[in-house]
């Protein structure tokens, strides 16, 4: 149960929020002018990084506003939250993810 800081309301329990996938996807400004591959990429192509992920959340049971979250998918650490339109803050999670590599146990095969 993550704690997420809504940029408007402050830190709240994850159960107040809903998840809306990858952030900063640009809708082609003139869809008629892009080819199928470009439109297909907009519709379907999503990053699935092991590491930092910029994603959209909505404070569904709060102010109902969309915002962005910079989360490390390896350990669910949230580095920052910011409003739509703001540029993502520059953080360095490191290749080995700093202090915490998210491995539960030594030798855990999963």
């Amino acid at each position: 149960m993550l704690l997420i800081k809504c940029p408007w309301c402050g830190t709240r329990d994850m159960s107040e929020f809903s998840y809306h996938g990858e952030a900063h996807l640009l809708r082609p400004p003139a869809p008629a002018e892009v080819d199928d591959a470009q439109w297909g990429a907009y519709l379907f192509a999503r990053k699935n990084p092991k590491g930092l992920h910029r994603e959209r959340w909505m404070h569904a049971h709060g102010c109902r506003r969309w915002f962005n979250v910079l989360r490390d998918t390896r350990d669910d650490r949230i580095y920052a939250t910011y409003r739509p339109g703001d540029s993502p803050p520059d953080v360095d999670a490191g290749d080995d993810n700093g202090e915490n590599n998210g491995d539960n146990n030594p030798g855990n095969p999963t």
């Binding site: 869809p31 909505m58 969309w66 146990n105 030594p106 095969p109």
Partner: protein, 1044 residues
């Protein structure tokens, strides 16, 4: 009549019992006695009950093995009827008057079990037997399965609803301390002294942890004078210390003490779940108004884990016989419960801690011998044992266990065979010596209880000196500190120091530091003083011998004797070796293949020994193998606690309309639509559903019907850019819609697929009233907001959900105008010219200000009357007060479905499934050709969306007009032996009273081109029926009636 059994194993004195009071209880239909302070386990032991159950796979008799949550054997069925609970560990059940328990997994009783024959078939049940032995021939699996499931049952679930109630509570604290032993108490006191809000939770009834189990063995005098009767042992000092700590915590203002509370899960960001047994320990339904259990959801700034450790068994030949138990458990039974489970004790050990048990048993009056696998055990504890004339067999093991014969003695251990070990400890040699005994107390060292730390994604570290995993680096997201035995502390002094430090550090991290003021300095001094009070003079334990799997005369798995490392799931060392030979050599695979550690005890006593056996087989150190993932819950949670109050009416919120009381009074049958309860139909006396629906449909077609449409999603859209928003989310154009007019809209996602529809009305130049499907209201509002917030943050539009602000009565039928005009003033003309189809007027209906929309979902002349919700019932009553001369009839959602299907109007989600475009629905006319962009438009030209052969909405008319096709049935070209090529499916199907025959809508590949074709609809029973493809509009195709 059964006589009451005597407590033959109860010591004359000692233990934390109230001996003045006698509790009577029933076990396997015999009556026994115990005392307050007993667990079911200690009371059974006191009464000499040795066999508590049969093992899971081989049905071998089993006895008590432990004294805490790690107990693998003693699972009982507690209570009867609705109160019954399977798989309760006898070691965790507090005794109460009238308790009823039964043994499990045995018939007719634990002592005499017919299934014991499985023990003789053990060759058929090797590792992975689920996957092997009983798989062939495949057709026989059903027969095997029945036998296996019956034989392997672990208790039975209650068949009646739970009469007790349960509760939940959210809590926030600065420091949560898990575990109320010496370290945990010390941590809680230190954190409280710093002013932090503290919650201290412990799974047992009493705080104190291992302090409650200390006895003479801990007596620090070390003089070996046989000071056996001393009442001034460490047990008393511990009790005094404990009392002082608890008094301190009770005085503190911000400390919550939670005994009988198991922290079962440690989730992200220091969110922990704990289950408090509030009244369950008193017996069934004795809680009065208090809940039986309460589930705590705790968010803590810092967590201190002081969860202790669990003793690790040694694995030797036939080590599962009743009477074999953990050495620490023996101490607990002697010192905490005043029970000596046997008269002759053999302690088998690879370390010093079993000597404590040996000394305690000796003091309690047992004859004791120690079998130590170490060559030269030395140090204070072995010396103390020697001083008390306890024989010590060094460099030896127990190589065989003999059981007593006959039922009366319960077939427990009667003697063991002791043999010397070879140098490497892998074989026995020399002559065997027989030692008579009825208890074998085993110790293979202590395993830190790292479950919660590991659940919290903390990294584990291997401690070579302890031969165990200990907490390493905690996860960043879950700041916690570990203290005491769970952190590898070996002595009480270390536990106290670690506890104090963890408490201070946790409080400081949460923002509470002990400053130099006199108060806090005094508090710190008090803590230090407290440690001194305990007067610890505990001998440091000598090193253990790294040997857990002990040999017998035959190679392990090559003879009659079995070496069980997992008692609950009946897994042996031979199973591990077999699995490793077969390639299941990673611990996670091994676990699943052999089922080791997969019982309700989750391998608390077995996991490390399984790894030790795997390590032997693979020739790798345990540290390199790694443990399997620890997952919540630490011990099982009851369904009641998880559900809490959220059951029956409180399980899911019910939404009802303002007209609900009328519907109930009228005897409506309801259906759930999303969270809404909507009238499904209104049956008359003895009227069938079909008859009622037919009657309601005909009324709406021939006279006037009224539908409670209050549940329709309604969104108020205001702003200069409102048209821009509508143009983007709907397929058609909105700029040219006149104020006062209504328009139907289709909403697509970016894939070009229909996801909602509804009528939107222009109330003012910059003001629109949008309606959505009942179930889609929230989804549509989110969709609009997403566009506004993430694509057009500068747009001047505001969307507000007004679903619950308006109550809606939808009048439908040729008499609807006449009825409505009765309720409106004459200056409010309703004729087709003044108030045309697809327009809206603000009227006063029955004295109530109303928005009336001339829209129709039935194809009839219709008026949708919207009034502020508080007037909904008044409007409804007024309609019925005036409606009788017109034949006004209420209709429900089923009639609404029939009426709209006769007109070929779709229901999103029924006739569409997220893969349907407006073109697939034949609604090309709804799609603007002029707009350059709207949501989904670009996807129309994607190859898959534009291809031929897509499924299209058509009507189906059956050969037999009386036959109503099943919804969801597949449409096929011809009926023959499967596999059949599927052309599509029936999406809506009803009997139409208007047409006097059945009708259906279907999505069929190339449906538009197939009009007139005869296709087949396949049924589940293998049959089918022929139907003709038609247009989807069955009634009034020109739409005259609605415009009238």
């Amino acid at each position: 009549m059964n006589s009451i059994h005597r407590q033959v194993n109860r010591l004359a004195a000692g233990g934390r019992l109230n001996r003045a009071k006698v509790i009577r209880f029933w076990y396997d239909d015999r009556q026994y006695e115990g005392h307050p302070g007993d667990t079911l386990a200690s009371a059974l032991l006191a009464n000499g009950v040795r066999i508590i159950g049969r093992s899971f796979k081989y049905h071998r008799p089993r006895g008590l093995f432990a004294a805490g949550p790690e107990e693998p054997n003693a699972l009982v069925q507690l209570e009867n009827g609705p109160h019954t609970e399977p798989n309760r560990r006898a070691t965790e059940v507090e005794l109460y008057e009238g308790l009823i328990a039964h043994s499990q997994n045995c018939w007719p009783s634990a002592a005499f079990d017919v299934g014991g024959v499985a023990a003789r078939l053990s060759r058929l049940l090797p590792a992975g037997f689920y996957y092997k032995t009983f798989m062939w021939p495949p057709r026989m699996w059903r027969a095997y399965e029945k036998f296996i499931r019956h034989a392997a049952g672990l208790g039975r679930a209650p068949a009646e609803p739970d009469p007790d109630h349960y509760d939940k509570r959210h809590a926030h604290c600065d420091v949560l301390v898990v575990g109320g032993g010496a370290a945990g108490l010390q941590a809680a006191c230190a954190a409280a002294a710093a002013g932090a809000r503290v919650i201290l939770a412990d799974e047992r009834a009493e705080f104190g942890g291992a302090l409650l189990e200390r006895g003479d063995g801990d007596d620090g005098d070390g003089d070996g004078d046989g000071d056996c009767d001393s009442d001034d042992g460490d047990g008393d000092k511990a009790a005094q210390w404990l009392g002082a700590r608890l008094a301190e915590l009770r005085r503190a203002a911000e400390v919550t003490l939670l005994p009988r509370t198991t922290v079962t899960g440690y989730y992200d960001c220091n969110f922990l779940v704990a289950c408090e047994r509030v009244t369950g320990h008193l017996g069934p339904s004795r809680g009065d108004r208090a809940p039986r259990e309460r589930l705590w959801k705790i968010r803590a700034a810092r967590v201190v884990l002081a969860t202790g450790s669990i003793e690790r068994p040694l694995v030797f030949a036939d080590n599962d016989r009743p009477g074999v138990m953990l050495a620490g458990a023996l101490r607990a039974y002697i010192n905490r419960f005043g029970v000596l489970p046997g008269k002759r004790v053999v302690a088998l050990t690879n370390n010093d801690s079993a000597y404590l048990a040996a000394l305690d048993a000796r003091r309690a009056g047992a004859a004791v011998e120690v079998v130590d696998v170490r060559r030269h055990p030395s140090g204070a504890l072995p010396e103390r044992a020697r001083a008390r004339c306890i024989p010590i067999h060094t460099n030896c093991t127990v190589s065989a266990v003999e059981c007593a014969r006959g039922w009366s003695r319960g077939r427990g251990v009667a003697s063991v065979q002791v043999m010397a070990l070879s140098d490497d400890g892998r074989e026995v040699r020399g002559a065997a010596r027989k030692v008579e005994c009825d208890v074998v107390a085993v110790s293979g060292g202590w395993t830190p209880t790292v479950h919660l730390f590991s659940q919290a994604k903390g990294a584990l570290a291997w401690r070579e000196d302890l031969h165990a995993f200990v907490p390493g680096r905690p996860a960043l997201a879950n700041p916690c500190l570990c203290a005491g035995a769970c952190n590898g502390a070996a002595t009480l002094a270390e536990c106290l120091e670690q506890g104090r430090a963890a408490g201070v550090d946790a409080a400081a991290a949460a923002g509470f530091t002990v400053d130099d003021s006199a108060d806090s300095a005094g508090a710190t001094a008090a803590i230090d003083n407290a440690s001194a009070q305990l007067n610890i003079d505990e001998p440091r334990h000598a090193a253990m011998r790294a040997l857990w799997i002990l040999p017998c005369e035959h190679a392990i798995g090559r003879g009659p004797k079995k070496h069980f490392h997992d008692l609950q799931n009946d897994v042996t060392v031979a199973d591990i070796e077999l699995a490793a030979r077969e390639g299941f050599e990673v611990s996670e695979h091994l676990k699943r293949y052999t089922t080791t550690g997969m019982g309700t005890d989750q391998g608390k006593t077995s996991n490390l020994n399984a790894l030790a056996a795997l390590s032997e087989s693979r020739g790798l150190p345990v540290a390199a193998l790694g443990v399997t993932t620890y997952r919540p819950p630490y011990t099982p949670l009851s369904f009641g606690a998880v559900a809490g109050q959220q059951r029956r009416d409180l399980f899911l919120q019910k939404r009802v309309t303002p007209m609900q009381p009328w519907h109930v009074k009228r005897g409506a049958v309801f259906e759930n639509v999303g969270d809404w309860m909507r009238p499904y139909y209104f049956p008359g006396k003895d009227e069938s559903m079909r008859a009622a629906v037919q009657r309601e449909c005909l009324a709406a077609r021939n006279a006037v019907g009224v539908l409670d449409a209050s549940t329709l999603g309604k969104i108020d859209i205001v702003g200069a850019d409102a048209v821009k928003l509508l143009d983007m989310v709907y397929t058609n154009a909105w700029g040219n819609l006149a104020v006062g007019s209504c328009r139907y809209g289709l909403m697509l996602n970016e894939h070009g697929m229909v996801f909602d529809d509804g009528v939107t009305t222009r109330i003012g130049e910059q003001h629109f009233h949008m309606t959505t499907t009942t179930g889609g209201a929230a989804r549509v509002l989110n969709w609009l907001e997403e566009w506004l917030q993430t694509e057009w943050p500068d747009a001047r539009v505001y969307c507000t959900s007004v679903t619950e602000q308006w109550a809606v009565a939808s009048l439908s039928g040729p008499q609807s105008r006449a009825l409505l005009s009765e309720l409106c003033a004459p200056e409010q003309p309703l004729d087709a010219e003044s108030f045309p189809f697809m327009s809206f007027r603000e009227l006063t209906v029955a004295g109530i200000p109303a928005r009336v929309f001339r829209v129709s979902f039935t194809g009839e002349l219709a008026f949708e009357i919207n009034v502020p919700a508080r007037f909904g019932l008044a409007l409804w009553n007024a309609l019925f007060a005036a409606g009788e001369p017109y034949g006004l009839c209420p209709y429900g959602t089923e009639a609404m479905h029939v009426l709209r299907a006769e007109k070929g109007f779709i229901i999103v989600g029924q006739d569409t499934d997220g893969t349907v475009t407006p073109f697939d629905l034949g609604m090309d006319w709804m799609v603007s050709k002029k707009k350059t962009d709207f949501a989904g438009k670009r996807s129309f030209s994607r190859a898959d969306t534009a291809r031929a052969g897509r499924k299209q909405l058509v009507g189906l008319l059956t050969e037999d007009p009386a036959l109503v096709l099943p919804e969801g049935a597949q449409v096929v070209a011809e009926l023959r032996k499967p596999p059949l090529k599927m052309l599509g499916h029936v999406s809506s199907s009803y009997f139409s009273p208007t047409l006097g025959r059945s009708i259906a809508l279907a999505l069929v590949a190339d449906g538009f081109q197939r009009k007139g074709e005869k296709l087949n609809v396949a049924f589940m029973d293998g049959g089918g029926h022929q139907a003709r493809v038609t247009a989807p509009v069955f009634f009034d195709p020109s739409g005259e009636r609605a415009r009238g």
